[in-house]
Assembly symmetry: C2
Homo-oligomer: 131 residues x 2
């Protein structure tokens, strides 16, 4: 019944985390949060600190509701898709939650390669959440 | 809180319907099933009859559990993505459920255009279920 969520300190990452917390409460399921931050090179210190405090809030909310939550900081240099799929397999997950950017009116019709890879290779259902 | 599911008489369509029924029960939410069969040209009579009886079972299961379920047969010649997104907007849906084919080991890394379009243009979260 485990839910796995990919978290990055962006609008999409925060939307995914919020929905994953909601799903964990609805299903009374354990949550594993994968912070797939590749060495921090994409984000500044403030962004990383804000993300850490959001993770802490999510953890407090779920443990306060008697639910299990585990946060794994993965900095192995993998693509986020690889980390998520590996953890979903390892935990025999029932659901992966990912964040998607909203398409702008002139946006081209293509999904990011990480999102596509997760959707195609996930061993379970994938919930794609709009930021 | 409405859930919208796209149903076609295929393995993917059946997986999506089964999961949508499960989600409707978990969330105690109304379900709208869109049978986006474009004039039946892709399917033979037996397949269509089998699909109809599966829809009937889903309807019986949900109404038996006191939940609202509506089946809309759409044969307007639209792409399935257009129908799903129109109905999700109209019903102010909280979730769209779609079925995805499993990628074969030699499968190319690309999602179908309907799935991509739904993921990009949906007004709400999209649950992608593996057949």
């Amino acid at each position: 019944m485990t839910i796995v969520v990919g978290f990055v300190p962006t609008k999409e990452g925060r939307a995914a985390l919020a929905r994953a917390v909601e799903e964990a409460r609805t299903r009374q399921a354990p949550l594993v949060v994968i912070n797939s931050n590749r060495g921090g090179r994409d984000f500044d210190d403030d962004t990383v600190r804000a993300a850490e405090s959001e993770l802490q809030r999510a953890q407090d909310e779920l443990t306060g509701a008697g639910l299990s939550v585990e946060v794994r900081q993965l900095v192995r240099g993998n693509e986020p898709a690889e980390d998520l799929i590996a953890v979903a397999n390892e935990t025999d997950a029932d659901l992966i939650v990912i964040g998607l950017r909203r398409r702008t009116p002139v946006g081209k019709l293509i999904l990011g390669s990480n999102a596509q890879r997760i959707l195609l290779d996930a061993p379970c259902a994938v919930l794609a959440v709009k930021a």
